[in-house]
């Protein structure tokens, strides 16, 4: 194994491969920053460039693109509330409010540090235990995934803090309902498609996120210039990049926890970066003190660091099933698998034995990629953040333009544009009545996976609900979800009399 690592190290450190990492990170960041283009499009765009490379160099470049695009996606989530990837939706929950408070610089810097830490810690795990973890990734069955999605949904509670529990739950249910549109996996029957071919594949996540986040926000700034977007004097200082010692102390445990959580969620082929980021967000809020809890959704540093760390750690984790089993856990890793095959490398249990230099150089280049990304991006942050200094008359149309074209360029379907506008207007109306959008997108993303796994579990257990308690993993996760939901309720119930006494 050590021979493999040294060979991998030598390959990854070769000067041309270092250049590839840099090019990959740079290209990825740039593409990912455009709203609508995520890691999947970025990698697909870059694959033709790598034809003719040797496999290790090709993968090194693409891994750089992957990380870069995720980081770039966080940037657009934070600055203009346009998450181009499902994995960065949770980043926008607290990142965008931070930017609106005039702390865009700090938010971006924190995102960069968090991504770096998450990616690096996960890469170390990968280095130490990848072959062993293959077994872990296969230990999860459909009931366990279902339980995991339920746990993810409890994050809705995070948006219910401001007294509108009912509104948050209603929006989560709306999201769950929207996720049922399209072809039903278990029966092959079309649901709520109104006979329209464009709806057979369901509603695209990107479309919904762009419409309800970016477009609705841009429209809001037109409707209520006082409410949408930061005021100009707040922006004249985009805030310092530096985190105070106190703040570092505050986020450090968050980063550590979220890296581990993110990595292990990423290892599971049926979960991935999105679930990881929601779980981390939910976890951080549940662990936060009562006072900190109020800050979530309004620009909490922990609320930004948690999901941002977890999604990067999960991306690294998703290389475990890809490299050791040849099983892609997400659309992005599926594209990477295609790229590997086109280089003549067959990922699977034998890769580690037969082509150790490819296996290890990819893992080592991940570490390098994270480092390069940090070095590359920190100096750029002030310039990127300046984007917000643009007069609103220019910024708003630009956001509208990029969001609409971003979605169009993926499907080339005008129906998608119409649907986007419809959703954006609906979202605007709901926002004016102060319904939160985040629970809706949470319900939408988790809803589809939750339903598929529930239906599969039921099919496998022949319709019996016993799958909920038959496996220890399922039972454990379900119990955590129940505790997460019940404890705050009980606490609130018990605390009230005390609070009254204190004031009396």
């Amino acid at each position: 194994m050590f021979e493999g690592i040294t060979a991998g190290l030598a390959t990854a450190m070769a000067w041309q491969n270092l250049i590839y990492v840099i090019i990959g990170c740079f290209a990825g960041t740039f593409i990912g920053m455009l709203p609508g283009l995520g890691p999947m499009s970025a990698i697909a765009l870059m694959i033709p460039v790598t034809y003719g490379f040797d496999p290790a160099s090709g993968m090194i470049l693409l891994a750089g693109v992957y990380y870069g695009a995720i980081f770039g996606g966080s940037t657009s989530s934070i600055l203009i509330n346009a998450p181009g990837v499902a994995g960065t939706v949770a980043t926008s929950f607290d990142g965008y409010p931070l930017a609106r408070k005039g702390q865009a610089g700090k938010a971006l810097a924190l995102a960069a540090y968090a991504s770096f830490s998450g990616g690096t810690i996960a890469a170390i795990f990968l280095l130490l235990a990848a072959p062993m973890l293959a077994q872990v990734s296969l230990s999860f069955q459909s009931p366990d995934y279902f339980a995991l999605m339920v746990l993810g949904l409890t994050a809705v509670a995070a948006f219910a803090g401001k007294g509108n529990v009912l509104k948050a739950i209603m929006m989560a249910i709306l999201g769950l309902m929207l996720s049922t549109i399209g072809t039903d996996q278990s029966s092959g029957i079309q649901r709520f498609t109104f006979g329209k071919m464009d709806l057979i594949d369901g509603i695209d996540f990107l479309l919904l996120a762009m419409a309800t986040f970016a477009l609705a926000e841009a429209l809001m700034s037109v409707f209520r210039p006082d409410k949408g977007g930061p005021s100009s004097d707040q922006l004249s200082n985009m805030g310092s990049l530096k985190l105070s010692k106190q703040e570092v102390k505050e986020v450090a445990p968050t980063v550590a926890r979220s890296s581990i959580l993110g990595f292990f969620t990423g290892v599971l082929p049926g979960a991935g970066a999105t679930i990881a980021s929601f779980l981390a967000y939910g976890m951080e809020r549940n662990l936060a003190s009562a006072k900190e809890k109020l800050g979530f959704g309004k620009g909490s540093l922990k609320g930004l660091a948690g999901p941002e760390t977890a999604n990067n750690a999960a991306c690294t984790g998703s290389f475990v099933p890809l490299l050791t089993l040849g099983i892609p856990g997400s659309g992005t890793t599926a594209i990477l698998l295609g790229a590997l095959i086109s280089y003549g490398v067959q990922p699977g249990p034998r890769l580690f034995v037969e082509q150790p230099e490819v296996f290890w150089s990819v893992i080592i280049s991940m570490y390098l990629g994270n480092l390069v990304l940090l070095i590359l991006n920190l100096p750029l942050i002030p310039y990127i953040a300046k984007l917000l200094n643009m007069p609103k008359q220019i910024l708003t149309p630009l956001v509208l333009f990029f969001s609409l074209t971003g979605v169009y360029l993926i499907s080339f379907n005008t129906f998608d544009i119409q649907m986007m506008v419809l959703f954006a207007v609906a979202a605007l109306v709901l926002k004016l009545m102060s319904f939160p959008m985040a629970p809706m997108i949470l319900g939408f993303i988790l809803g589809g996976m939750m339903e598929d796994n529930l239906r599969r579990s039921l099919m496998i257990s022949d319709g019996s609900l016993s799958f909920l308690w038959e496996r220890p993993i399922t039972l454990a996760i379900i119990s955590i979800a129940v505790v997460v939901l019940l404890v705050p309720a009980i606490q609130a119930f018990r605390k009230k009399p005390e609070a009254v006494e204190a004031t009396a």
Binding site: T183, Q185, G326, L337, S342, Q346, G348
Partner: protein, 325 residues
């Protein structure tokens, strides 16, 4: 290779590739191809298009190749688009595969392969049933015994929705063994890889998939393939038994091929057929083919059409019996 050439590849391979519009009508000389992929980047159709395109381009059979991804409607949107704009799509080839037959039978989209010009079937992938390496099921007969005892005890994983190809492969095999195909307990996953993970995690007993996706897992000793729907054992995987030799008359191949717009003239179809034939002999193609585990099944023009019609009949009868039509 030169940077400039690389750059050209970026442009050509870009998912933002624009539609080539051209009025060249000389059928004999084909020096460029535009591939329309009815699904997103990275899928099976995409890798087929890019595999064929790159092999043709790199070996110098054609000078220029471009790709266009258009997903939606289970491939139906690309079909509708090709028909609507047929006039300016004379140089466009759309990649497709067996699902065009299945989905048109299911009325997912109103068109069928008859509304296009079948140019050639290029590659094929056989269906397989696989079990975990440590499964007590060693042969198809073992699986059949469990099925006959209680079909609920034999869950079959597959990487697509109920009623689609993986499901039909499993149903077809059990039907050929004299069983009721409706009794097959099919558990759908949203991708082939996840179905594989489902089998390996032990939640299903069988996996129905394509040979290409299962072969590497078999070689690494994680799974065992208990039968392949080919007529004879394959030279590339001679240890895998066919269903035929296990006295189960199941024969199926998932073809992947290319279609032209409706009304493409015969000369051009023939010229494309020749192009594919020429490609088979190139080193570049053989490399791509072996890397992906593809099997060549050459069926040009009319032969392809006749094959599609017989497949439609066969699958249609099976789907009707299963209650999907």
């Amino acid at each position: 290779m030169g940077i400039r050439q690389n750059f050209r590849r970026i442009l050509a391979g870009s998912i933002l590739a624009t539609v080539c519009v051209s009025g060249v009508s000389q059928a004999e000389i084909i020096n460029k191809a535009h591939f329309l992929v009815p699904g997103g980047a990275g899928g099976g159709w995409d890798s087929t298009a890019r595999g064929i395109g790159e092999a043709m381009n790199r070996s110098g059979i054609i000078d220029k190749v471009s790709y266009e991804n258009m997903s939606g409607g289970g491939g139906g949107r690309a079909i509708a688009y090709l028909i609507e704009t047929a006039e300016r799509q004379k140089d466009t080839l759309m990649v497709n595969s067996t699902p065009i037959v299945i989905r048109s039978l299911q009325k997912v989209f109103p068109q069928s392969f008859r509304d296009l010009t079948p140019v050639a079937a290029v590659i094929g992938d056989y269906g397989v049933l696989a079990v975990r390496a440590d499964s007590e099921i060693k042969t198809f007969a073992d699986a059949l015994k469990i099925f006959q005892g209680n079909s609920r005890k034999l869950k079959v994983a597959g990487g697509s929705v109920a009623g689609s190809m993986d499901h039909l492969i499993a149903a077809m095999i059990f039907q050929a063994a004299g069983e009721n195909p409706r009794k097959v307990r099919y558990v759908p996953y949203d991708a082939g890889g996840k179905a594989m993970a489902g089998l390996l995690s032990g939640e299903t007993q069988l996996l129905a998939t394509g040979l290409g996706e299962a072969l590497e897992m078999e070689r690494s000793g994680k799974i065992r393939i208990i039968g392949v729907t080919a007529d004879e054992r394959l030279p590339s995987a001679s240890n895998i038994p066919t269903f035929k030799e296990q006295a189960v008359d199941a024969s199926f191949v998932n073809w992947r091929g290319v279609f032209g717009p409706p009304g493409l003239d015969n000369d051009k179809v023939a010229a494309y057929g020749e192009l594919v034939k020429k490609m088979y002999d190139t080193e570049e193609w053989q490399k791509v083919r072996d890397a992906n585990g593809w099997v060549e099944i050459y069926k040009p023009g009319n032969e392809f059409m006749a094959y599609l019609e017989s497949q439609e009949k066969e699958l249609g009868a099976l789907m009707k019996q299963m209650g999907f039509l």
